[in-house]
């Protein structure tokens, strides 16, 4: 399985990848994207099985990336990993077609809770 991790912070991409490993998802290919536009391009070029994306990013936000993906016909499973976990943001994410929203800070248990049904 290939997982695309999109976050404009290199530090946070490393933390997400480390947490995936700690949660037991350590035998998957990881591809990194540094903003929403990069993620959009890499969904096309890398064909990931899952996208884990930050919300607030320069160039293109995570929600704009998700909307662009769905508008182009892509049904790639997409989840947010963001510092904003309010009910309002969760509703926006769900309405745009996100499977889940993991709020930062997170633990490996949070990842397991949201990803167990998604990652085979």
């Amino acid at each position: 399985m290939k997982i695309l991790v999109a976050d404009d912070s290199r530090v946070m991409r490393q933390i997400v990848i480390r947490t995936l490993r700690q949660a037991g998802y350590d035998d998957h290919d990881i591809v990194e994207a540094e903003d929403g536009a990069d993620a959009l391009a890499k969904v096309s070029s890398e064909q990931p099985d899952l996208v884990l994306s930050d919300w607030n990013m320069p160039n293109m936000t995570g929600i704009e990336c998700l909307e662009a993906l769905r508008a182009s016909g892509s049904a790639v499973p997409f989840g947010f990993v963001t510092s904003e976990g309010s009910a309002e943001m969760r509703e926006k994410a769900a309405n745009a077609g996100a499977l889940f929203l993991i709020a930062k800070p997170f633990t490996e248990d949070t990842f397991k809770e949201h990803l167990d049904g998604v990652i085979a």
């Binding site: 530090v11 490393q14 510092s83 800070p105």
Partner: protein, 180 residues
């Protein structure tokens, strides 16, 4: 038809700026920060609510919140503390010598996580900005400062309104009065 006399009272009440100290308290900010530290820095990393005094080479990172309350959530600590925090965030990926970009990235992400969770407590809808790093924006009177110690080193989190000067005048109208 009912006569309506506009006293302006209602308008003034609704236009009154929201003060951060009425929206969130120190304990909540500390609790948000502690949760971030435990998850991102380490399970056994504790923030102790004690003032310690910031060194001269202090650096800040912050995120802006724009909404019914507008301002910034600012994290400030000494340069050595910022490097140590970034090293903890990067863990095994930390290079022997951290460059300025790694430290700015780490500090920015801590402000982002704390700021995002502070935003969730404040009245909405509001928008969170991207993290910035540098000299902290000046705080006005609409500010809530939390002094903490991490591994014995000083660190402050300030939730500060951007309309500080305006609020200052409104809260202290005598400041603008001409002395008799």
């Amino acid at each position: 038809m009912t006569d309506f006399q506009d006293t302006g009272e209602r308008r003034r009440t609704s236009d009154a700026p929201l003060l951060i100290t009425e929206l969130i308290d120190e304990e909540t900010v500390q609790s948000i920060a502690q949760e971030a530290w435990s998850a991102l820095i380490g399970d056994d990393e504790f923030l102790v609510p004690l003032p310690g005094g910031l060194p001269e080479d202090a650096v800040s990172s912050w995120v802006e919140v724009v909404g019914p309350w507008t301002g910034a959530v600012v994290l400030t600590c000494g340069r050595a503390t910022a490097e140590e925090l970034s090293r903890c965030l990067l863990a095994e990926h930390a290079p022997p010598v951290l460059d300025a970009e790694d430290v700015a990235d780490g500090m920015g992400e801590l402000a982002n996580v704390v700021g995002g969770n502070v935003k969730a407590v404040l009245p909405g809808p509001s928008v969170l900005g991207l993290p910035e790093v540098g000299a902290a924006p000046e705080a006005g009177v609409d500010a809530l400062r939390v002094d903490l110690l991490w591994r014995g080193q000083s660190l402050t989190i300030t939730v500060q309104g951007s309309a500080g000067a305006l609020t200052d005048q409104q809260n202290n109208p005598q400041k603008n009065e001409v002395p008799l």
